[in-house]
Subunit: 215 residues, 2 copies
Amino acid sequence: MPTLSQENYLKALWHLAADGKVTLQRLASHLGVSPASALAMVRKLSANKLVTYRRTTGIRLTAKGRLTALQIVRRHRLWEVFLHDKLGYQWDEVHSIAEQLEHVAPADLTERLDAFLGYPRFDPHGDPIPQHDGTLPGRSDLVLSEQPPAMYRIVGLVQTHDALLRQLHSLNLTIGQVVELRHHRSFDDVFVLRVGQNTEHIGRAVAERIIVEPA
Amino acid sequence: MPTLSQENYLKALWHLAADGKVTLQRLASHLGVSPASALAMVRKLSANKLVTYRRTTGIRLTAKGRLTALQIVRRHRLWEVFLHDKLGYQWDEVHSIAEQLEHVAPADLTERLDAFLGYPRFDPHGDPIPQHDGTLPGRSDLVLSEQPPAMYRIVGLVQTHDALLRQLHSLNLTIGQVVELRHHRSFDDVFVLRVGQNTEHIGRAVAERIIVEPA
DNA sequence: TTCATATTTTAGTCACGACTAAAAAATAAT
DNA sequence: ATTATTTTTTAGTCGTGACTAAAATATGAA
């Protein structure tokens, strides 16, 4: 388990890796820290197999390091959603508070929070929330209500509130579930789903909140 | 602003003060720390005017220290309510997680959380949640549904969920509001309230969640 | 009171994560 | 190619909050 400081470094490294080689300088100035301090920490992270560092390649996250970083970003963005959606903060106020909360990480807290928030896929800034498995939702993901009849896997539930979430749960419409989509013969805002043995009918408002990929 | 460690000491001191003189030994063993470490920290707290320490009296919180400690306990217990009521943790699981969250304290986060949770007065263990002004709710507080007709001030809303909270808010039934209670002439689980110019009717289930004091 | 025990206090260390200043190495410019 | 500049690295410090071991002070029992 990385320390609090190590987590901040990993998160910074993940962000910086998006545009190019990560030098000590970049890392240090991003964190407002001296290059000497950055080097010391990079060595610790390296000893923990979270990063590799060679002068030529710069600092690179290992698979393990990237996974860890993604979980921190995930927690950060989920807390941002909480602060915005539940506590009514403005989108520009949530970042600094989430920065504190993101380091709280007992066992299943993140997953419970995710469920409580209705499996949001984007934070209040519109940035994608890394999923449990380390994948990032793309803006190109498919909304169930817009798909032709076929087999789909549910990969996300958007802006779901408690009541709807319970409803979906009772219909077995949960993340990971594979469903067969058909359209209703008469009503174009009723969607017919085969879920395992059962056939369920849901409305457009609900179908718009279910994100799928072809299965 | 006390450091994270200082906050833990203050909280421990507040808890320990409940039963008698607080010696270095008690403090140290409560925190799992050596007496020498405890002394060092007590000196820092003393320099910050948060505690006084004389061999004879033991360690005592100053008014400032007590206020600070109460705010930490407040945050702790509010987070416990969140974890229990919103994330579905069992009452015995919340303590250790809240221990992490209690140190996150930007400006109005605590107050927003309090409002979001419906101004709970007791945590999942049944312990009172210190109020913003540092007072502790007593178990002797009055439940509106059990009171005779008279004027009352609303001092708490118990175990309120979102929907109910919105309802109460729309009726102006918020903390601090003064209302005149009357009983319905025919139905004994309907309560009639004069709130300012308006007369409102609420059911027993709602009235049971409104805590009052005579006004 | 005097000795034994418990508590408090000092003194010196350690790990962590930061710092500065200067040395070493790599890169760029003339 | 040699110099100048930037980047990396070393070396030594500092503050925080912990530690141990031993000294000083209280407290309790005979």
